[in-house]
């Protein structure tokens, strides 16, 4: 088995130690960091997403694979920075104000990172002002908002309004998701898209940016 297969398998099986060791070995053998991301990590996480959608992987497997992927990425990020390379797409993600649920948001963040995007995770209970500040400071291409309660969904509209008021709305694509969220609500508040699952969110980000 080649080393790059080992990295792929380590991420797929959720083994962070092996993922890190395989990455170290690859780098020692002269592998290019961005190649490892695009040729091993992204395909591995794509497969994880497919298995999740097929109901063969579940939340534990997803989180373990995400953790394995991140352990490899930790070794690669400094090398990318040093060579001036950046991930092509930057995403800000957070659970909206008043909502502390984060498992869905964490899964989406993991899948986006595994797709080779730079992800800035603002955490939970994120106020509209904090979303706006993140857009101003980090200039993402996409903002993803999550809510798990119907009572916290209005914060999505407040955040959209805040982005409009700050003159930032046209600079980002906004996607929303979470158990009570619907496509209808996304249209109502002027979001660019809605996804009912993590895999869908990744696909949606890619298609929105391709059409941008």
């Amino acid at each position: 088995m080649t080393q790059s297969n080992e990295l792929y398998e380590a991420i797929l099986s959720g083994n962070a130690k092996k993922a890190r060791a395989a990455t170290e070995a690859e780098l020692a053998a002269g592998a290019v960091p961005m190649d490892l991301i695009q040729q091993c990590m992204v395909p591995a996480m794509d497969e994880v997403g497919r298995l999740f959608e097929a109901e063969e992987y579940f939340v534990p497997e997803l989180l373990l694979s995400g953790r394995a992927m991140k352990s490899a990425l930790e070794l690669l990020k400094p090398l990318l920075s040093a060579s001036g390379q950046k991930m092509a797409v930057r995403v800000v993600i957070g659970t909206v104000m008043g909502d502390l649920h984060d498992i869905g948001k964490n899964i989406v963040a993991s899948m986006l990172e595994g797709s080779g995007f730079e992800v800035i995770d603002l955490g939970t209970d994120v106020s509209p002002a904090k979303f706006v500040a993140a857009v101003e400071d980090r200039k993402p291409h996409v903002v993803c908002m999550s809510a798990l309660l119907t009572v916290t969904m209005p914060a999505m509209k407040l955040t959209m309004d805040a982005l409009n008021t700050a003159g930032l709305r046209t600079q980002v694509k906004v996607l929303i998701g979470g158990a009570p969220v619907t496509m209808q609500y996304a249209k109502e508040i002027g979001a660019d898209g809605y996804s009912e699952n993590a895999n869908g969110a990744v696909g949606l980000v890619k298609s929105l940016l391709a059409g941008a």
Binding site: F58, V59, L64, L100, I103, L149, T150, T182
Partner: protein
């Protein structure tokens, strides 16, 4: 028949006068009363008033003391964030057992009846006294997996299954102990049925569910039965891959949430299992019309067959139009398990 008699008939395999109706209401009920949700979850008298008013207004067959996932966790000393008008939330970052070593020093399950758990007991007593002759009274406990997530942090627990299965077993031994004690006193207080809310179980898949969760749920169900109680199992979310296990627990009622097609739930849980559900609370009940709800219920009746209770898959959300909630009850009142379909939703 009273609502209580109707539900008992369903559970005992007798034909009721018409279908029973047991939608879950929490924030919706608080809004009906005009109380804040903080009042509802903090004061059993407000909860009882809200549940009775809602049940009488719409014609439900039961009242419930379900409220939020943080009741037991609060009394155990977990860090909780309170809100004026939404459920209290557990602060996962500071979860009680974020440090695994704290489990060994945790309060013994039988010794933790603090304010919030006592409040539920008082709620059951009050509901029993005021409405128990006509309405089924439902108590509630967090299931072993859900309580484990509440106390350890959901994200941590999900990786613990692989990283430290021994710890998970110890954790679930603790949480099922808490649930058994709490269920027992609720039965003594007069609860006709105990709801077990185990939402986290829908996230783990069949391998982990069968190894870690099912044995503890079974232990809890058996204990509730031994105490003379009945069980309503409520696992929110997509439970397609664990339906067989859910049907094998011996619960009097198994709730089915909307992501699971009822025509899969019925054969997998067994023909004798009473099922409740499974309209989409947002997509169908809140956003639908009485006509679309009727069509959806007609289809569910055909798919679920006898031993089915009209309900949404999960909580009726606040802001749901009253005519839509009435549609559920109107359907129940005008149909029996033998009813022919008038129209079937495609």
């Amino acid at each position: 028949m009273t609502g209580r008699d109707r539900i008992l008939a369903v559970l005992e395999g007798r034909e009721p006068d018409h279908l029973a109706c047991m939608p879950i209401t929490m924030m919706f009920a608080a809004d009906i009363l005009g109380a804040s949700y903080r009042q509802y979850v903090s004061d059993h008298r407000v909860m009882a008033d809200a549940q009775i008013k809602t049940a009488e207004m719409f014609g439900f067959d039961y009242v419930s003391t379900i409220s939020d996932p943080a009741r037991e966790a609060s009394d155990l000393g977990a860090a909780i964030q309170w809100f004026d008008d939404q459920p209290p939330a557990i602060i996962e970052e500071n979860a009680l057992f974020a440090d695994k070593s704290t489990l060994s020093a945790a309060k013994a399950p039988g010794s933790i009846f603090g304010g919030r758990m006592q409040d539920r007991l008082s709620g059951i007593e009050l509901l029993r006294e005021r409405a128990g002759k006509d309405l089924f009274v439902e108590g509630w406990v967090e299931g072993p997996c859900a309580e484990g997530a509440d106390l350890r942090g959901l994200n941590r627990l999900m990786t613990d299954f692989t990283d430290d299965p021994e710890f998970v077993n110890e954790l679930f031994e603790y949480t099922v102990g808490v649930a058994k004690e709490f269920a027992a006193v609720q039965i003594k207080a007069g609860a006709d049925i105990i709801g077990i809310g185990d939402a986290a179980a829908s996230l783990v898949g069949p391998r982990i569910y069968n190894e870690f969760v099912w044995p503890r749920e079974k232990e809890l169900v058996d204990h509730i039965h031994a105490c003379g109680g009945r069980v309503r199992l409520h696992i929110c979310g997509n439970t397609k891959r664990i339906l067989d296990g859910m049907g094998a627990l011996g619960c009097e009622i198994v709730d089915i949430d909307y992501p699971v097609p009822m025509d899969q739930a019925r054969p997998r849980t067994g023909q004798q299992q009473t099922l409740a559900g499974n309209l989409n609370p947002v997509g169908e009940v809140r956003n639908g019309t009485p006509e679309t709800i009727l069509r959806a219920l007609e289809a569910l009746l055909q798919q679920a067959g006898p031993r089915w209770i009209v309900a949404a898959g999960c909580e009726i959300v606040r802001d749901t139009r009253h005519e839509n909630v009435r549609a559920l009850v109107n359907f129940a009142r005008s149909h029996t398990s033998m009813s022919e379909p008038h129209c079937v939703a495609h």
